[in-house]
Amino acid sequence: MEMEEKRMQNEFALDVRNLSVNYKIYEGILDVIPGLSLHVGKAERVGLIGETGCGKTTVLKAVARVLQSPPARIKTDGIYVTGTSIDGRAGMKQVRKNVSMIFQDPSTSLNPTLKIDTQMMDILKSQFPKHSKSEYRQMMLDSLAAVSMPAPERVLGSYPIQLSGGMRQRVCIAISLMKDTELMIADEPTTALDVTIEEQILELLDKLVREKKKSLILVSHALGAVRKITDRVYVMYAGNIVEAGPTREVFQNPKHPYTIGLLAATPRLTGEGIADGIAGDLPSYLDPPEGCRFALRCPQCSDQCLQTPPKLESVSADEGSWQVACYNAGKGVTTCQA
């Protein structure tokens, strides 16, 4: 009920309602996202975690209107950014104005044939028209300074190929911060980078988002960083959200067996050696299990799990802030990994 109210008052920076995505191929239909809802509050930082191939990027691309369709077949009850639908031509405008996105691989997200200043200039010109050349230049230098870029003048005159991976991602972040958007989407911004740079970039992102009071949706495999940066977290498995709740609580006391396994799978430097992974693989999207998609890998699987997919149910005192899609969640089996 509370959620409906917030929806009405446009208090969500992002509101995705029942998004489904599938692909038709020779073997049949790939049901990648069967039906997914999520939201990001104003100035809220939300994490989205799950193993590779679970559909995180697909969701983000759909939100930024850059999911190639066809071949993807997208259906939704509505995706709203700051209360405005992103559907149609007007929606595209809304995305351009109010969404920023950082992509996985900085080596492919900058145009290889244009210099950095040209690329930044074109964005500034369309976002803030009617400024002088020197003003634009100052804006560019400012935004590069904001991401603590060394030698910004030289960077502006370079082609992407002349920059290192870390520098390119800084440029990408600088570009996404240039426009004054409510919502920032970061799709594994550090996956393609060295571990040493990974931390720097995530810290930078965290700092900038906090300073500018932006809403952030962060996809990352660096679970430590997700834990540090975000307020709330969604755990995705095979196209479904299986657990959603306050980051601290979810990380401390995960309820869904998949979350438990996922968190246990991250090696902890201070921990007791190599952690357990989750046995098995993601199910085929072609012919996904009828019941819970995680059932076949689940240590707590029951008959019910194999028949009907569980819905997200609240497990916290305050209505809806912590939800889990599992029939056996929190039935005291959290020790199964131990």
Partner: protein
């Protein structure tokens, strides 16, 4: 310095390839059954005269010696040998016919680039719309139809039925106008714009017939390059970052798409002159391609080596130009060494 060295190496390499090519053609010609001199002079000419010409043209010497004399002639005097077919110096013939063909090819090359990029862009931007479908059907026909079929079709339509263009031939150039040999250029140099208009009028159908296959192919390449790049991450990133649609298409998408377009364009332009020969024959244009055809069909030894060498040189020059163009477009090529 580096670029200079690279260019020099390239030129040297090209020269070697051309030398090898001419030697190859030379060796081919030597194994022509029968005597080219005799067959060009006819049976009535006495044997002594034939022998004299043979020795003048170095046909009585061993192949390497003959080849050496030929190269020496080119290097020292720009002499490509004598044509047995026109009985003129081959160099003279080339100088006379090449410019007008180059002019034909130049117009065609410009038309191909402009129309190919224009149609390809329209087709890619309005992908799967009716206009894209119309353009794609055109490109299918354009690619599979031989140039002579277009020429005949245009003749029937524009010349015989609509009577908009002449059926063939070119305006007569007053002798005092002739400077470069290129028809339009000479008319312009003489300041005779009426004649230039006439030349253009007579060249319209030949240029169109020569270009249409190229336009179709270029359109296809440009369309697919643009469609492919539309899916690239950097376009998605620029779009979300807020670059306007116009700029996104005409700058961010166009520039990388030009790389394959330009590479293919080079091949197209390089083969224009070779494709021109039927067009020149059909429209009685009397250019270099038609001349090449005559010397080839008449088995004229020095003529054949001369024209193949010219084709080789033009091929090489166009390739160098295209490579330069591509490296301007694609900083990855020029900068790879530095990074």
């Amino acid at each position: 310095m580096k670029i200079l060295k690279k260019t020099l190496r390239r030129v040297l390499h090209t020269l070697l390839v051309l030398l090898a090519l001419s030697f190859l053609i030379f060796s081919f010609i030597r194994i022509i059954p029968g005597d080219p001199v005799r067959s060009s002079m006819g049976p009535m000419v006495p044997e002594e005269t034939i022998q004299k010409i043979r020795s003048e043209l170095n046909f009585d010497k061993p192949l390497p010696v003959q080849y050496f004399y030929w190269i020496k002639g080119i290097v020292t005097a720009g002499d490509f040998g004598m044509s047995l077919f026109t009985h003129r110096s081959v160099g003279e013939d080339i100088a006379r016919y090449l410019p007008r063909s180059l002019e034909l090819c130049l117009y065609s090359a410009l038309l191909i680039l402009m129309m190919g990029v224009l149609l390809g862009t329209i087709s890619a931007v309005f992908k799967n719309s009716w206009i894209d479908n119309v353009i794609r059907v055109f490109t299918y026909f354009g690619v599979v139809t031989p140039p002579y079929a277009f020429a005949i079709f245009f003749m029937l339509l524009f010349s015989y039925s609509l009577r908009l263009f002449p059926i063939g031939g070119v305006p007569v150039m007053p002798a005092e106008y002739v400077r470069t040999g290129a028809l339009g250029l000479d008319a312009l140099l003489a300041g005779d714009f009426a004649l230039y208009g006439k030349v253009m009028h007579s060249m319209f159908l030949p240029v169109l017939s020569l270009s249409i296959g190229g336009i179709a192919y270029q359109t296809r390449i440009h369309r697919s390059a643009m469609v492919e790049n539309i899916n690239a991450d950097y376009i998605a990133f620029a779009r979300v970052a807020g670059v306007g649609n116009g700029k996104l298409i005409f700058k961010h998408l166009m520039k990388p798409s030009f790389i394959p377009t330009f590479t293919v364009y080079g091949l197209q332009v390089a083969s224009l002159l070779g494709n021109a020969f039927i067009i020149e024959v059909l429209f009685r244009y009397q250019g270099f391609s038609q001349y090449s055809l005559s010397v080839i069909m008449n088995k004229d030894p020095y003529g054949i080596v001369g024209v193949t060498l010219i084709f080789g040189i033009i091929f090489a020059v166009v390739n160098v130009l295209i490579d330069m163009g591509v490296s301007v477009l694609d900083p990855r090529i020029g900068l790879r060494g530095e990074a």
